[in-house]
Symmetry: C2
Subunit: 390 residues, 2 copies
């Protein structure tokens, strides 16, 4: 059985490696030639480790061993029946405009090449309803027996290999046979328990709901932290002791919410509601949480401004060292990273900003190469993500 993993990003590449490790032959496909090049020469910058080995080295090793092939070409699928894992996401701009063309493009190239018995598994977060609207009609028009399942990936970045093997999978099939085929496939590569959703739209919604609930939890803990500070009570003591109760599980406060999934989740939900003409459904709690998380970097900037003022300094004449530019700890992902928002705001307000992150690679003009270079002569050190070496 040939496995194709389409999209070699934060989800796709770990998955391709994970499946190859399990002993299956994997072809990884990404339409970005730079991604293909970086995977091939062992320089891809995703922060995952398998048994201590960085994923860039792991992928190269699997390629050298002939277990994994990577290519930008989805145009020559010649081994059937195949398992096609689609981990291509929806495109989302800085202002949260959604563009599902990547999904359509995959379908444009894949569908004409499908043969009876092929199994397609979408393993990406989608706007609920996407599969029903954009995928199933195209497959049905083929008029050949092709299987389709949807199961979102819920792993935490940096924990990919452990979570791919253990995290429970929520999955729905286009029909019973599709579910059975996809289940058989997952059972052959991992120990993860599989939970059946009654239809694909429900499974799509579940992923969005999981992300939104996390977004709300983060907003809540940040709000609590502001209260605790105002009351001159130790925030971490309040949180840690609150969590000694078996029914309380508060997260830790932070500089905001980044990464792809959480900031986009509510937008996905709104798209779905709008499509179903459900314009009057109140999302007040989710909206407030989202707004609060979006505003959090602004609050961090205000905190810095106040801290400088307390020692008779101004932002304009200060140099701020930002340590950790990724969207969260131990992570190479800078998408929607609050650290970057904070850097931008500080710069706009006239501060000098130096950023250091040993994991994310050189991406921003204000980045420096060493921790020492970053903090020397700084008036304020802001730790936005705890990375190895920080």
């Amino acid at each position: 059985m040939q496995v194709y993993v389409i999209g070699l990003g934060h989800i796709g590449l770990p998955m391709a490696c994970f499946i190859a490790i399990s002993g299956k032959q994997v072809i990884g496909i990404d339409n970005n030639p730079q991604v293909i090049k970086a995977v091939k020469n062992g320089s891809i910058n995703i922060y995952e480790h398998y048994n201590g080995l960085h994923i860039s080295k792991l992928a190269k090793k699997l390629i050298d061993q002939g277990k994994l092939t990577v290519t930008k070409n989805l145009r020559t699928i010649d081994q059937h029946p195949g398992v096609f894992i689609v981990s291509v996401g929806i495109k989302s701009s800085d202002d949260f405009k959604q563009d599902i063309s990547p999904i359509k493009e995959v379908m444009d190239t894949l569908v004409p090449q499908l043969k009876p018995g092929d199994l397609i598994i979408f393993r990406t977060t989608l706007i609920p309803g996407t599969i029903d609207e954009h995928v199933i009609p195209r497959l049905e028009s083929l008029n050949i027996p092709v299987y389709l399942a949807y199961c979102p990936e819920t792993m935490a970045e940096t924990q990919a290999f452990q979570e791919l093997n253990n995290n429970p999978i929520v999955m729905a099939g286009k029909d019973e046979e599709s579910f059975a085929k996809a289940k058989e496939f997952f059972n052959s590569i991992s120990d993860a328990p599989i939970h059946k959703a009654s239809n694909i739209k429900t499974a799509e919604l579940i992923k969005v709901v999981q992300n939104i609930s996390r977004d709300v939890e983060i907003a809540l803990v940040n709000e609590i932290s502001v209260v605790a500070e105002a009351l001159k009570v130790d925030t971490y003591e309040v949180l840690n002791l609150s969590n000694t109760h078996p029914r309380v599980k508060l997260l830790q406060p932070g500089p905001g919410v980044g990464g792809y999934c959480l900031p986009n989740a509510l937008v996905y939900l709104k798209h779905t509601l709008l499509k179903g003409k459900n314009t009057d459904i109140p999302l007040s709690l989710m909206e407030v949480a989202r707004k609060s998380n979006l505003d959090r970097p602004k609050k961090i900037v205000a905190l810095i401004e106040q801290a400088l003022k307390d020692v008779n300094k101004t932002l304009e004449k200060s140099c701020i060292a930002i340590l950790g530019l990724a969207m969260k700890d131990n992570c190479a992902d800078c998408r929607y990273s609050p650290a970057i928002d904070i850097a931008k705001m500080l710069t706009e307000k006239g501060a000098k900003v130096k950023g250091f992150d040993p994991v994310v690679g050189k991406k921003f003009p204000f980045q420096v190469d060493t921790l020492q270079e970053c903090i020397v002569n700084s008036d304020c050190i802001l730790i936005t993500a705890v990375q190895p070496g920080i």
Copy 2:
């Protein structure tokens, strides 16, 4: 060692019984003569069971065995050193006006009678700062060595005996010796692990934060349930499958939030912030959650109205059966119960309402005596709390 439990409500009575069972001599005190009478004659209506025995029977048995004495008189404390557990709460009206006079009254009577070595343990939810402001100065004015600790009770009503024995305790002492004395006491009656908070205000805040976080979680799941219904997706499937993820723990939707603790928690927090002149602390998420939970009964009424309309009926000409009047399942507590709010709103809108609850006792004019009497000839059956026998 003589133990006094002051306040024999939902927290105090189970605690008095729990301590008496452990082998200590307990005097339970409540200034409400009806409570004393009901405890004495085995008719108190709190829904707790110890080894299958209803608390009313248990308390009577402990009294008969001479292990528990109950009295309304706090004026003749003659055995020292004593442990005084104060489980008298703040009074709160229907419109959430707080009145801490019950705490002051206890102090008025208790303080003049204290002797060196006495230990006072407040075991109730307080507005953070209450002990520092209203209790400690009075004890210090005594100028004798008296110990003081604060540890909120976090047990779920109906689970009192199990949770009193197992739930971790967050506790703070007025000083190290107070903490040590109180810890020794709890270790002598239960297996509950004890976590030390660095000061009493922090411990008070922790309880309020725990309650608020629950309030937010409930608002979130109710919001999700409205979304799922609008999308014609099974709410319970979404929630149950979302919860298969190890980092997701959504609650179940319901008719609103009742009981004493949760509806009052945010008001307590606001009192504290106001007292510290922290008027500009944003509580937007907590506020939206609270409002959403307060509005929930109104939404249930709208749901009923729509359901009746769908079958060409109107509220004015309909009879609504409400099953379960307590603030939640398996519970006798009707304080701020959403079921009662719903009954009131339905009645105001001209509906005929019959309510049934086998646990709460006869308290409301619209209550009937049997399940059958409640549902016969009803146009709509609303289950607001699942009670034994419903």
